[in-house]
Amino acid sequence: MHIHFLDPYHPHPSLIHSLDGRVKLILVIGFVLTTSLMPAGVWAGYLLLYALLISAEILSEERLRYYLSRALISIPFILAALPLPFTMKGSMIAQFQIGSLILTVSQEGLVRLISITLKSWISVQAAILLAVSTPFPDILSAMRAVGVPRLLVAVFGLMWRYLFVFADEALHLIQARASRSSKLEGYKEGRSVIWRANIAGGMAGNLFIRGFERADRVYMAMVSRGYDGEVRTLHLPAWKKINTLILVFGLLVYSLILLLGNLIFYFR
């Protein structure tokens, strides 16, 4: 059993895939920042941002359904913003009565809730686009290029390299537990929650011990190949002129959309 399917990267020779990782990382972060800066309730701005994003999604030649279904991940968090229409002051648009409780829905609150939901839904798709179209080593070198310290990038890289190994081991542990957890008719399944939590803890502990032991072996392997405490990395790939062009153009488009959104917001 291997869980390489966990890696969201889908190799494909599309335009988006062939973009430089540094350009993609900066443009995606810029996009999320632009979305965040877009004032609440400027639907035209959200439309333009989403059109931009969906174009990139089409250019990545990945099924749009994939983006939409993966984007559901941020949905549960909307619970946190759900009270907004009832608590924000503003012009009343509806009123409910549940028992003795009177709930007033304000327009401002509702607009804010919808804006937060849309922003979150658009932003998460941009992040998915990055993960789908960029192999992790490229994201790592992009991080180095934007100034993330070498040591941290090295830890990220090592983590990524062993992530799937440990995920496989975790699946084996779960399988082993399942195969030893028989069910008998008429008997209660398993023991108390505390016991179950402790078993899960034991399994996690097992994983950590393997982690320590593997880290020792990794360290020795590194030393045997000349590791002296200094983290060395390959040179970043050469920066092409076209990258600058795409980057400047992208950031310009973001600024224009943002300017437009703000103009609409202040002149309504």
């Binding site: 966990l6 089409i58 946190a80 932003s123 939590a197 899960a200």
Partner: protein
Amino acid sequence: MLASPVAMHIPDGFLSTTVALIFWIISVVVIGFALKRVSQELDERQVPLMGVLAAAIFAGQMLNFTVAGGTSGHLLGAAIATILLGPWPAILVLTSVVSIQALIFQDGGLLALGANLFNMAVVGVAVSYMVYRTIYRVSGGKNWGIFVGGFVAAWLSIEIAALSCALQLAISGTSPANISVPAMGGIHALIGIGEGLITVGVLAFIYSTRRDLLAQGEMPATQGKLVWVVGLLIAIGLAILSPLASAYPDGLEWVAEQHGFLEAARGPLYTIIPDYVFPGISNEALATIMAGILGALLVFFVALGVGYWRRNRKPA
């Protein structure tokens, strides 16, 4: 799949830009400091150890156990990482876990990553360290100190991190403090018990198989004094601040309002351009329709282009 049902990974869109950027700055400073400490004080063995253990913690989050009614709990790992590695490396390990969750698995936003790093890597580790170290010291190095310390460290680190998350949402004006603080605090008081129990399970297993690893967590006191103090300050600060914010939401609302006011204050910048110069824009409905048409055209042409390109590429 790797996302927990009631996680505190804030997605993008839920924090105001200012709050998100402020927490980015705080987290970058703390993580930068942790990097400096780690490369100064610890031996070169730590680099592979941190990477491999971050992977183990990430995978360890897959090991769930059923609680009741279809819900399940799993390890989050701030406390156990702190106990096994010490505070500074633990901050880096948790930074890796939380960053990769955001970058690759979209568990938590990119702009919100600063706040998420603050809650889980900074608050989680500092509070865990403060509690564990204190209880272990009080126990005089006895066994119960490891287990009680581990349980309380796990519980309190989850709870304080959740309060921090609730307050970030409240300051952003996303969730009123008198709702978000009791809700987040309440749910995570329960989740924290699960975390505590699993952490004790981990510690019991390691205690019976590799006791030497637990002795490693007992670092010289000077190394972590700063973390201890910071952990104490964060724990006390948030424990006092959040009930206050919850009881008097007006205070935070005031902050949120001022904050909204500040954002609105950017207005005059644009009023230099008089209304009538942008006749289409002052009519918002029209502007929205225009944006819709423009967007649809863009998408249409891109789709057309890709289709065309694909067709031409196939025979080649």
